[in-house]
């Protein structure tokens, strides 16, 4: 089984548009949306949800006012100042460490498991898809990312499919780290701007830190040729495969507005030709 995870460091470089195009191009694959915080791939793939599950992870303290003797110990121990003067826990600030609950002399603090999202197994016109939705203002996104990738892998095994295409989150923190472990390779979608380059360099370091092979492509390449070339030079210096350039093409936005991949929307567009070329290079490199 091979898994390609698409990441970018910087948000909005075109990860989802490109993976949606791959969904059109790849023959047998399972799609996985690991950007659980602000998932968008489903807006193009329009999944028909077959199975839905709650994602339970972490705990939140709740003080039972009837039992509380207002001794203040919990407030002293809480490193997050999550307990108010009148002994009410702010669920958003509560880290779920359980220290207050453990030490409360009155046993007045409950510590229930949180439901912090849902995850789905679906069918799409491109094949099976595993996706999820983290509830607003929730924690544990890394755990949900790990779970959804595991479910994607399971779906692929059941259907004898040996390719998993995973849309990753932006950044370099917890959800991104969770999207890397065990991946065959990451494809970094960058953009030729000072921000795109800065963020790409950090995400390259992250992939190296976790020893995941990386490849890079530059989207909207013609926006700034110097920056685009600088990204490619940096990548080559780090022994990272440069697998293509995508021109700035308004067809991507028009395709998105219609809920289509660029391949479905206009297979003759410059953007589509460029993505097809990247997919060809990717297939060759990873022997898909």
């Amino acid at each position: 089984m091979k898994e390609i995870v698409i990441i970018s460091g910087k948000g909005g470089t075109g990860k989802t548009s490109i993976i949606a195009a791959f969904a059109s191009l790849a023959e047998n694959k399972v799609l996985c949306d690991a950007d659980v915080d602000a998932a968008d791939l489903h807006l193009i793939t329009k999944p028909e949800i077959k199975e839905q599950y709650d994602f339970e992870s972490g705990h939140t303290a709740i003080i039972n006012q009837d039992k509380c003797s207002e001794c203040d110990l919990c407030r002293d121990l809480c490193k997050w100042n999550a307990i108010s003067e009148d002994f009410v826990v702010n669920a958003i600030e509560c880290e779920g460490c359980g220290v207050c609950c453990y030490f409360c002399p009155e046993k007045a603090i409950d510590f229930p498991l949180n439901t912090c999202g849902e995850w789905y197994l679906s069918e799409t016109r491109f094949g099976p898809m595993a996706h999820a939705r983290l509830h607003l203002a929730e924690e544990n996104s890394g755990k949900l990312v790990a779970l959804i990738r595991q479910q994607g892998r399971k779906l692929a095994e059941e259907r004898h499919i040996n390719l998993l295409l995973t849309d990753g989150p932006p950044g370099i923190g917890c959800p991104v780290i969770a999207s890397l472990g065990g991946a065959t390779a990451v494809l970094i979608v960058s953009e030729p701007t000072v921000s795109g380059r800065h963020d790409m360099e950090r995400v390259v370091k992250l992939a190296a830190f976790f020893k995941i092979p990386a490849m890079v492509c530059v989207n909207k390449f013609d926006l700034n040729l110097d920056q685009g070339k600088a990204i490619e030079t940096f990548a080559r210096e780090k022994n990272i495969g440069v697998i293509g350039r995508v021109p700035f093409d308004p067809a991507f936005t028009r395709a998105m507005v219609q809920g289509k991949t660029i391949v479905e929307f206009d297979s003759q567009s410059e953007g589509c030709k460029a993505v097809k070329n990247i997919w060809k290079n990717l297939k060759q490199r990873l022997e898909i």
């Binding site: 460091g9 910087k10 948000g11 909005g12 470089t13 989802t16 915080d37 602000a38 968008d40 807006l43 972490g58 705990h59 121990l77 490193k79 958003i92 600030e93 880290e95 779920g96 460490c97 359980g98 220290v99 453990y102 030490f103 983290l134 607003l136 203002a137 929730e138 924690e139 996104s141 890394g142 989150p169 932006p170 950044g171 370099i172 923190g173 917890c174 959800p175 991104v176 780290i177 953009e191 030729p192 701007t193 000072v194 921000s195 800065h198 963020d199 950090r202 370091k205 992250l206 830190f209 976790f210 926006l223 700034n224 920056q227 308004p250 936005t253 998105m256 507005v257 809920g259």
Partner: protein
Amino acid sequence: MIISIASGKGGTGKTTVATNLAVSLKSDVQLLDCDVEEPNSHLFIQPVIEEVKTITIPVPEVDMEKCSLCGKCGEICQFKAIVVIGDTVLPFHELCHSCGGCMEVCPEKAIIETGRELGVIEKGHRNGLEFVHGRLRVGEAMSPPLIKKVREYTQPGILTIIDAPPGTSCPVIASMTGADFVLLVTEPTPFGLHDLKLAVGAVKILGIPCGLVINRSDIGNDQVKVYAAQEDIPVLMEIPFDRCIAEAYSRGKMIVEVMPEWEEKFAKLYHQIKEIVFSNNHG
């Protein structure tokens, strides 16, 4: 006053709005870049950095001379960050949330504090604008504790502009909590709208007034405006797609540097926000 600039979707123009707003105002302003995973504001502000501080959080180390292997530390830890295995205790620093539970519960006082590096905070200035940002160490998973450290630089009495990370989970909440206003930057596309709705949901949980900046306002469709009208969220600024702006951005230039007439628009944006915050506090 604290204005937090957020978006849900990445790449919609948070940093563009935060930096242009910060340099367009004549009053005392500080800019805190809380997108510590991928901070970008400094690329545009080009501050003179005068202070670099390494930030650590406390994690446990066990003095095995004192340890009686009672296992209480492993029992209290919700994050599996300390485990008794055979005749030793293994702390897993990268999993530790620094709750202090293991130290508190240890009957032998065998657990002492050491530090895990979260990253650095850099502080500097440009033309009277104070600039602070955090840079998460590559490989570090937890950004909220570093974001909170950046926010400790907030100076009461002046305007604090926060450049928040994308998304809707804990790092974003850490960048919006306690703000007087959240300015949401979006783009008029299905992805932009979808993630905007999530961001509005998060802002509502926190009970903070918000307004919109629609960036690249002439691409996509009109659904963001329809949504804004339905939800009664004011559209405070529209920035059209302009190749000149996009190219300037790609070189690390702010809009006001290539189109000085925008300075007035950003100043007006601030005044609109001030009015909303004022009427909210007194209405």
